[in-house]
Amino acid sequence: MTTHYLVLSALLFAIGAVGVLIRRNAIVVFMCVELMLNACNLAFVTFARQHGNLDGQLIAFFVMVVAAAEVVVGLAIIVMIFRTRRSASVDDANLLKY
């Protein structure tokens, strides 16, 4: 069963990575990053059960905390870019200033 979970996790991670590569809307790109983080969490939980200790679950918990913080800051940046450039597309944010 461990193999199944790990393959599912790999699939979700790869789908998220493809999404980050092909989507242009910054918010959707962010969602794909979240999907990748979730896939990693699944692998952590699976390994925790495989090896019979709780460290994997704890790391997954920390990943969730970091992901929540990351979403807050990232979305604030997206809103700020939207304010100045009137667009949430990553193609439009091609300058370091303004």
Binding site: M31, M64, A76, F82
Partner: protein, 318 residues
Amino acid sequence: MGETVTFWVLAVVSVSAALGLVFSRRAVYSALMLGVVMLSLAVLYAVQDAPFLAAVQIVVYTGAVMMLFLFVLMLVGVDSADSLVETIRGQRFWAAIAGLAFVLLLALGVGNAAFSPAVGVEGAVKEAGGNVPALAQLIFTRYVFAFEVTSALLITAALGAMVLAHRERVRPKATQRDLARARFAGPQPSPLPGPGTYARHNAIDMPALLPDGSVAVKSINRVLARHDLEDGIRPTDPEKAALIRQVIGKEKAGEPDEAAGEAAAGEGFRVEESVAERNPAVESPAAAQGAPAEDGVAERDSAVAGHDREAAQREEGQ
């Protein structure tokens, strides 16, 4: 057996939802698909003896993070669909190739590893007497430093979000006195006629009728009328349709009907100010919906025009 069934059902659901997340063109659909993936992962955690993580997954991810995503989507504008034009040639093709190669690599790597039957976390949990106490013991003993660092991270993130979302007020805030002054200086001190007055029904998109049965121009809801016009919906009454088109057309041409324009500006000002008081972060997108201007600050110019004119008059008097 039960776990196998759960796994296969949820695996199919989550992978198809993940594909939907990547390939649906509307961002809101993507957000909902992500919610499906997160919920099914929560169930998978629960199946794998991680009840605490399952609860946290639902509370933090499907609760907080998804709400934040949807909130920002609504701020930025839900109808902004992705353009399908490739800016880098062959980007999609090579991205798909890379994704497939990555899946193959990982799957082959995992498939080649020989796993003994899973130990299960029951042994690790038994001593503390439950999953949550066991996790708590770990957090406050071996991982206590990481835990402390996490608190610093959370504070930094909250501060960062506040700093990023903050915007300086460039004009003095209009007081109640200024608002009243601007209102009585304008052509319409009284409130605008409500929609639907004397009309057949009182829906918001129904213009009010004047005593002689003609449509009251001032009662036309401009936002709704503009949306209707863009979507091609017209009132069934051709006379009303022509009137609405005329009002909106005049607005678009940049010469707003003097009386109605002033009154609308006054209304908009009050609404935006109250929004701004409640939440400064909401201020600009709310204003952006009303008036798509180039500069973020210039948006409220029309609204503050009355205020400015008032100040100019005062200077002239002096």
